[in-house]
């Protein structure tokens, strides 16, 4: 059985940008690409890069930020009252 996760999320738009990466600090270890449940990270030329529409997909777990030992990833929760909503959390 394949669960289609696209239909299993609700969110309030208007988050603004809340994740960024400093390419100078990124060592290309790829850990962010592994832990992101939503596959929002990819390595391009050995540097972590976020997909463009991450604001519409991110579950705000902050695993990417927490797993990044060189502190290349900055994460801040989205603007208050926006972003992912858990109705059965």
């Amino acid at each position: 059985m394949k669960i289609d996760v696209k239909n299993l999320m609700k969110r309030i738009p208007g988050t603004g940008d809340f994740i960024s990466v400093d390419p100078e600090k990124c060592i290309g270890c790829g850990r962010c690409t592994v832990v992101c449940v939503m596959n929002l990270w990819l390595l391009r030329d050995g540097v972590a890069q976020l997909v463009e529409d991450y604001q519409e997909k991110c579950l705000e777990c902050a695993a990417c930020y927490s797993v990044c030992e060189p502190d290349a990833i900055q994460f801040r929760y989205p603007k208050g009252g926006t972003g992912i909503i858990y109705e059965q959390g």
Binding site: C61, G83, Q88
Partner: protein, 455 residues
Amino acid sequence: MKTWDIIIVGGGPGGSMAAKVAAEKGLKTVFFERGRKSGEKNSSGCGLGPRLWRDFPEMMKRLTPEVAPSMRPGIMARNYFINKDDEVVGMVMARPTESVQYEPAKSWITMNCYRSDFDPWMASLAIEAGAEQITSTLIIDLIKDDRGKVIGVQDENGQKYGASIVIGADGALSMVAQKSGLRHKWQLSQITLVPQYDFYVPRENIDKIMGDETLAVWWGSTFPAAYQVFFAEGMHLGLGNWLNWWDKNPLYYLNRVVNLPYFQRLMKLLEAKPRELQSHLLPWMAYPENTYTDNVMLIGDAGGFPCPLEAEGIYPAIVTGKIAAEVAAQAISDGDTSKGALKAYEEGWKKSSVGIEFEAGPELQHIWSRLPFEPKTMEWFVPMMMELLGGIYDWSEPHAVRVRNILEAVRGYLPKAIPFIMQEVIPLLSKVLKEDFENLTKLSEFIPKLLPKKK
């Protein structure tokens, strides 16, 4: 700048408890929530333990299905054991044993309740006690005076809020911990990532099929141990592991549980339908450290308090929230909110049942990481255990022959089992029983103590 006596960053169970107690102590209290209401940003297992009812009876008796429709208690817990071929090879079902001492622990193992019900209810208690809640507001920084002393917080719009004490109840990714210098980041071995599905299940199917069961643990050999929790009209399935463990997308492992033939059959029977995908970080550590500094205390997940064995987080959050608020009230009344005065917080949680839970914290956390969360260990542990549990129920040979076969099979596992017992089990037993079993002479002396005394 508008000022309060105390600011609590975070409107989860711990933050609401801290706000409730602070308000009851007469402090001018405000607590912040980044969601539009408490609970809408949170996911967890989510079973509430009976200790909440024992320790906070007046409060907990007000939690009813009228305020929390997802509530569902259960007295039975299932444990499925799954081999490396993803077959369920055994199952143990248990209810509270005869040594369980008090109600409601004798009547149910967990009271399951969605965070979307529980957290707003907790917040309403704090508001009723006189605390002010500010929602849809993300606090992004601490405000400090010229000498670096914390004097308040600032939200994302630059609005400032003043107070002499700030409690960080802001979860695993605590801004308060970071900005106060108490912690930069968790080590990867201190924090777990927990993806989880919620399924819709018709209410009558849960009652008819699961009966009085409250949860199940799926002890796998191809995925870290997964939990399944039953609510009035739904169920959670989740699993987790430390951030330094994952080698693939965490959903790969969660979907592996979903796709067990046994789980698929159960889903069909229950008519379960995937409803929500959730993911959260959960501190799971050997021992909480750096939980306070000048004018700041960290509670719940922000302080690293989830139980080191099973990572139950709500109870420790509520207990530490209460202790922090009591210490804050005393400190404010004494006019001293320095680190020296707030040391009473650390002393308080260490003495509480949360502190006792951490007495064997490093050993508990370690054995969990090496056994249920390590498929490589479970790969031999599950068949070994099932030889012992299930091997005798077998008509393939005369029973005496079966017993010899089983012992022979178990002997084959000993080269793996003995080092595991020596490295993981013995240190844990030594700590819990306060005996030095790592000294083998001591261990051999202890065993006769278990035998009946000669008359």
